[in-house]
């Protein structure tokens, strides 16, 4: 009659008042941890699941970052090894007739730092030459061969076999960091990236606020269009606006040609404008969300007390919107500093961290310096992340009491409307212009030079193949991430797991850390057995899924907080196992979080660039990267054409999801 459920957790975990923690001192903290662990161990299913989750998070998020950190503290030296298989009978003979003469001729070789002699067994001896850090290894090898020539005849009769090999010796050292700070061309990238992120964030937050405010409170004719404009940049690959800005304002762009003046969009202006347009929707979503849930009662009360419009705005509305504004600022900052596509296309001769990390790897095979760049990408991201957690935890911002308020809608004051429109208006025109450029670019031969209509740019079999791969890729990642993320959120919210906070932080790490870092980390971590995954499709999917885990996690968490735990307790009381409770009760209730995670991961997967550029291999080409490659070669028409196809695909999927949602009556978005 009474089912044997060892489940006492659900009852207690949510009832534990937070104030208990305040009274904790070290002793009771430890005893609580011990109690947690004991209770935890009693539930094998939970243990298994958590163990699995921990292992996965560790392998696919922590390990790559660890590798990056390690790589940043190593230095590689080119090594030339001469392996002799000789016929000397005694050690003394070997030393006198082979080692000494060879060492003498080797000494004056330029770039040589150290020579070591290794004797293995009776007939094998190796001489290892270590050269300076960035010495041309071919030069080292050829110099060695040339140096040996004079003594070749004297040693030849005793040598059965000789073999020259090139290699690399890795040593721990902070030399790369020292190099970073001693050459301005390195740390300028750090400075530029931070300045860029701060500037872009500030402008985006300002714009997003204006868009959201007018979009919610402004005249009705403006609301719909502004909402669309604020969100539409989301459907396009993030660097598409660099492309359109180049078409608009590049050296042979529309604006210079039409108005006949020299104008260079490359560099700071281009990157900032492109980033502002790209990240506006993110800011808009956050701020609109918080503004929407703001009851107007406080503002109305203030108006009744004859506060001026500006006072209301700056002293009530904005402070109440802090959570949304801060969230927006954090998100945009993280994205701006990690942005790869825009700087790649339009930064001209200004250097930024994310692109430079790639270029230093690719340009001089300096993975060590790339790793150092990655470390400097992680630090500001981590700081912002922690600041956000610290600033927002434990402060209450709600004004809604749960009851709907019947309020006469106040029309937006002219004193606020007009200044905001000054900000919103030109921005809207710019966004429309950018999309317009893409269309024009795709359908004309060469914009502004040969304006004949053509469909040829769409004829790119490889481009279409890359689109198909992108869809496969995004779908796969989108199937994994929400399931894993939501399961994790359930464990974190409902269950008492020791070191929960640490685990939660680690899983969010995948998102906070810029894509470049994860890209480099994955190459370092998974290029050799036992986990040789590079070159496969799988590694790209895993990378994308784990990077976007946190969105599903957050969505699941917030939804779970809204659901009363009593429902699950009822299920348990009626004999349902934990697993059944989860699959039959919890999952359906938070299905909107699952779907939100799916949509987000899919959309982000379609336009992924910064991490996957390190991981693509022949046959696994992604559309966004293909567009980048084509654009860099100067073929802007084809880049626009493939971009349009990409946008169409994303729109189709979004519409399909909305249809499915309507049909199954699940609230999609």
């Amino acid at each position: 009659m009474f089912p044997n459920s060892g489940h006492t957790e659900p009852k207690e975990s949510n009832r534990q008042p937070e104030s208990c923690m305040n009274m904790a001192n070290t002793e009771s903290y430890f005893s609580r941890v011990v109690e947690d662990v004991r209770r935890f161990i009693r539930n094998p299913g939970l243990v298994g699941l958590t163990a699995l989750a921990t292992i996965l998070i560790f392998i696919f998020i922590v390990l790559p970052i660890g590798f990056v950190l390690e790589k940043s503290m190593t230095v590689g030296y080119p090594i030339v090894t001469i392996q002799y298989h000789h016929q000397f009978s005694s050690d003394a003979d070997l030393d006198r007739k082979l080692v000494k003469p060879v060492m003498t001729v080797l000494k004056p070789i330029p770039g040589l730092i150290k020579t070591t002699v290794i004797k293995k067994g009776v007939q094998d001896a190796s001489i290892i030459l270590r050269f300076e850090k960035r010495w041309d290894d071919l030069k080292g090898l050829n110099d060695t061969k040339r140096a040996i020539l004079p003594v070749q005849d004297t040693i030849a009769p005793h040598i059965e076999k000789v073999r020259y090999r090139l290699g690399k010796e890795r040593v721990y050292s902070t030399e790369t960091y020292r190099d970073f700070f001693s050459h301005s061309r390195y740390w300028h990238s750090l400075r530029n990236s931070i300045v860029l992120a701060v500037v872009s964030t500030t402008i985006v937050v300002l714009m997003a606020f204006c868009f959201a405010y007018v979009g919610l409170r402004g005249p009705h004719w403006a609301r719909g269009p502004l909402r669309v404009l604020g969100l539409i940049p989301l459907v396009a690959p993030p660097f598409i606006f660099s492309l359109s800005l180049i078409l608009l304002g590049g050296r042979s762009g529309v604006i210079p040609k039409l108005f006949d003046f020299d104008f260079n969009i490359y560099g700071w202006p281009g990157v900032i404008i492109a980033q502002v347009i790209t990240f506006l929707p993110l800011g808009y979503l956050m701020i609109e969300n918080v503004l929407r849930s703001l009851g107007t009662n406080l503002e109305d009360a203030a108006a009744d007390m004859r506060a001026s419009d500006y006072n209301i705005l700056f002293k009530i509305t904005i402070p109440l919107s802090y959570p949304g504004i801060l969230k927006a600022a954090l998100l945009v900052f993280l994205m701006a500093i990690a942005d790869f596509g825009n700087p790649m296309l339009i930064s001209g001769n200004v250097h930024f961290l994310a692109t430079d990390a790639y270029l230093y790897w690719v340009g001089e095979n300096n993975l060590e310096m790339a790793a150092v760049f990655c470390v400097f990408l992680i630090i500001p991201s981590m700081m912002m992340f922690i600041a956000h957690e610290v600033m927002l935890k434990g402060r209450s911002f709600t004004t809604i009491g749960g009851k709907p308020q019947l309020v006469e809608e106040r029309s937006i004051s002219k004193k606020i409307f007009y200044p905001m429109m000054v900000v919103v208006g030109p921005m809207s025109i710019l966004i429309v212009a950018c999309f317009g450029m893409i269309f024009l670019g795709a359908f004309t031969e060469i914009l502004m030079i040969n304006n004949t209509f053509t469909l040829e740019h769409f004829n790119s079999p490889n481009g279409i193949r890359s689109l198909a791969t992108s869809i496969k890729f995004a779908l796969s990642a989108a199937c994994i991430a929400p399931l894993f993320g939501v399961t994790l959120s359930y464990i974190f919210v409902r269950k008492r797991v020791p070191f929960k906070r640490a685990l939660e932080f680690l899983s969010l790490l995948g998102f906070a850390v810029p894509g470049t870092v994860m890209g480099v980390g994955y190459i370092l971590a998974f290029n050799s057995p036992p986990l040789k995954l590079t070159g496969t499709f799988l590694i790209m999917i895993i990378n994308e899924a784990f990077r976007n885990l946190s969105v599903s996690l957050e969505a699941g968490s917030s939804k779970l907080h809204q659901i009363d735990v009593a429902i699950e307790e009822a299920a348990v009381d009626m004999g349902a196992s934990a697993f059944k409770t989860f699959t039959k009760i919890v999952l359906p209730l938070i299905s909107s979080a699952l779907i939100a995670g799916f949509i987000y991961t899919f959309m982000v997967g379609m336009i992924a660039v910064s991490a996957v550029i390190f991981l693509i291999s022949p046959g696994n080409n992604l559309a966004a990267l293909y567009i980048l490659a084509v654009a860099e070669q100067g073929n802007l028409g084809m880049a626009c054409a493939i971009s349009i196809m990409l946008i169409v695909v994303v729109l189709v999927c979004l519409i399909a999801l909305k249809v499915v949602g309507k049909y199954t009556k699940t609230e999609v978005y």
Binding site: L138, C479, G619
Partner: protein, 331 residues
């Protein structure tokens, strides 16, 4: 519950479709190729090769020469690709010295002169290309600029802001021209010339083809690029002209090699055999200036003043020259 049923059905379908796609890829006979060849050329060469070797060719999305090389170096010895079809000769020599290739003595190559083949048969050269300058004649006229005829002319301050060049850090073309200048003028004078050119440079592009495109589009008046990128656009009717500097320029032997760990050795060998055939060479000749099979016509009939380029020297001094270049010109 109906909605859960539909949702899970949709998910199931999606997952199945995905798996179908991926298993299909595994089943087919595939050859993975790294290349620095232009996308527009590969889109013609790959299908032709596929027909000849009977396997599907999956090629990398057009890395620039150095990107390709850095990727290979990072992956060695567990390469992700089977073959490198299209990389610089200097890189081929380095790769052979590092023991990255599988030797294959192809019978199809016996008619091709020895100087285009590795003595140990680790690599083969199938066409050669040279670095050249390009000008937009319309822009020159509009801005009243003289037409440059030599490397030295490119340092003329009149071209300030009008010169676009590829970045030797990523582009093989750029490194070819830089190292060629070193060999023509000697290092000291070459650095002075590069300094002058740097003062005129409006932008450095990642790929060697981009300057030709930008000059053709009228974004810059003068550029440094390579022959195919320039002459293919002359043919298309752009107002541009290719300039072979009077002091001479260097050519590079575009090479092909089989990577260690190649998973489809049969197809790789067939590919190398096919590259030497007259049909393949004629296909390459449609876009490249010179091919290595004697008697096959290519795009450039005149003999540009090509210096005797020392690829070994270039390979031995690559890092040093590039570091110095970055020290001087990349702020």
């Amino acid at each position: 519950m109906k909605q859960k049923g539909i949702l899970s059905a949709v998910v199931l379908v999606a997952v199945t479709v995905m798996f179908l796609f991926s298993t299909q890829a595994l089943a087919a006979d595939v050859l993975k190729v790294y290349t620095h060849t232009d996308i527009s050329e590969m889109e013609k060469w790959a299908p032709a090769a596929e027909k000849a070797i009977g396997a599907r060719i999956e090629w990398s999305p057009r890395f620039s020469s150095n990107e390709l090389w850095s990727r290979a170096e990072a992956e060695a010895p567990n390469f992700q690709a089977d073959v490198i079809w299209g990389f610089m000769n200097m890189q081929a020599m380095i790769g052979a010295a590092k023991d990255w290739f599988i030797a294959y003595d192809s019978p199809a190559w016996k008619d091709i002169p020895e100087k285009f083949k590795d003595p140990d048969r680790y690599w083969y050269g199938f066409n050669y290309w040279f670095a050249a300058a390009v000008v937009n004649t319309d822009l020159l006229k509009k801005k009243n600029l003289p037409k440059p005829v030599s490397w030295t002319d490119l340092t003329n301050p009149a071209y300030k802001g009008e010169l676009v060049m590829p970045n030797p850090g990523t582009s093989g073309t750029a490194f070819l021209s830089v190292s060629a200048m070193m060999q023509i003028f000697g290092e000291e004078k070459a650095w002075k010339l590069l300094d002058g050119m740097n003062k005129n440079a409006g932008q450095y592009t990642k790929s060697g083809s981009a300057p030709a495109k930008l000059v053709a589009n009228g974004e810059y008046a003068v550029g440094v690029s390579w022959d195919h990128a320039i002459y293919s656009r002359v043919d298309k009717g752009f107002p541009i002209e290719g300039i072979i500097p009077s002091e001479g320029t260097a050519y590079d032997l575009d090479s092909v090699a089989i990577l260690k760990g190649c998973k489809n050795l049969k197809a790789a060998k067939k590919l190398i055999d096919w590259i030497a055939t007259k049909e393949a060479m004629e296909l390459f000749g449609q876009t490249r200036s010179k091919v290595t099979r004697p008697g096959v016509k290519a795009t450039v009939s005149m003999e540009p003043k090509l210096i005797k380029y020392n690829a070994v020297w270039a390979g031995e001094n690559k890092n040093r020259i590039m570091s110095t270049w970055k020290e001087k010109f990349q702020k």
